[in-house]
Subunit: 239 residues, 2 copies
């Protein structure tokens, strides 16, 4: 069903840990990246830096980059299809983890499907899945909410709604927050959730400071020394 | 907060593709597996086979295995903590993909957290995340349902409920099915969903036959030749 004359769109994961740019690709996938000349990236500077660390045996300045962010106009994204339609394979990279999950890459992927271009995802780190694996919470049913509302009142409403949903459907509820707001969220969670609800906090995933802990809200209330500020964090709860 | 005298519980992904047992681990993680002597596995035979393919430089018959399935009694799982409490690191493997996601491994992880044992997840293939990346559907909010009900009537109710939820919350809805029932589900989906709803079908993920396609229900109705029977498949929809 996919035209053989078109190129393939490869989805290339990058590290989650911003302080460690070493490859997160399997060797067979690194070899595929080696033959690519066209890339669609969220940030050109960090993408060049990461590709440089892959030892691609070709000068990075010979590669072609297009930038795809939340604000890229649809007509530009359509234009990024050109090398694919001409038969060249293209790599899609986001700023952190797996492209297409919680980033603008999915717009490019959607367009590729419309044109019957083959899309090939590569294995790599997803902070959502790593946190879920390590949480010990229900991995058979779960929901990812992205970011919680930034206004305190709306956020608290959402937290209570999420707890009710988890209680009703036995789902694990997963969300993230901009790191500077983590401590506020943690305070809201320990304030508003029921004592017996389980909360997993997954901090600095994949880094040497990684810390993943699951406790009941009752037990979290005793952890007053926990410092979440400015650390990338995934929150998971199960009522 | 984690006792340094306890061992660590490592969560070790295995291949999704049942016909290809080559390593899905990053080299740094393979090296960690090399020093482990204790394993908790869903199926001892396939675990031995997979560990054999990692070139561990030690005889597989010197390793200790405990089996953890859906039917393992809680007291046995408690017993599996013994090497961890004695200071030995332990590896947890499931039958496919990432342990703790849609498998019984999460029970072991939950127990480890209760004992303040450090849990360390390794990067590996998750068919859920790979399918989501490659779907082009919303990766900012999504829900994984596990298996749909096996009774046709209940299944159709659930499919309609899922479509309504997706329409209301703009979430991607993800589910799986036992491969022999795929074709029935596909027929139910094309029968019952609205023409404009997008459906992604991700078949034989990570294998050389991998096929990932996203189309509207209207367009899927034209794909009468598609054969899903007995192929591992992830379904994703967005209304």
């Amino acid at each position: 069903m996919t035209s053989k004359t078109y190129g393939h769109l490869y989805l290339i994961p990058v590290p989650i840990d911003q302080n460690n740019r070493e490859s997160v690709l399997l060797e067979k996938h690194r070899k595929i990246v080696e033959h690519l000349d066209y890339f669609i990236v969220e940030n050109e500077k960090t993408a060049r830096f990461y590709l440089g660390a892959l030892n691609l045996h070709k000068p990075i300045n010979q590669l072609h980059f297009e930038v795809l962010t939340q604000t890229t106009p649809p007509e530009d994204i359509t234009h990024y299809l050109t090398p694919l339609l001409e038969g060249f394979d293209v790599g899609l990279l986001s700023e952190s983890g797996c492209p297409g999950v919680a980033d603008p890459g999915s717009k490019m992927v959607a367009l590729a499907h419309q044109m019957d271009i083959k899309v090939i995802p590569m294995t790599g780190p997803s902070s959502i899945i790593l946190a879920l694996m390590a949480s010990g919470l229900n991995g058979q049913q779960f929901k990812f909410h992205g970011y919680l509302p930034s206004e305190k009142e709306d956020r608290i409403k959402k937290i209570i709604l999420i707890e009710n949903e988890s209680s009703k459907y036995h789902e694990t509820q997963i969300f993230i927050e901009t790191p500077y707001r983590n401590q506020h969220i943690f305070n809201d969670l320990t304030d508003k959730l029921q004592d017996k609800t389980k909360l997993c906090i997954a901090l600095d995933m994949t880094s040497e400071n990684e810390l993943i802990m699951t406790k009941t809200i009752k037990d979290w209330k005793k952890e007053i020394a926990l410092d979440l500020k400015n650390k990338p964090c995934v929150f998971l709860l199960q009522a």
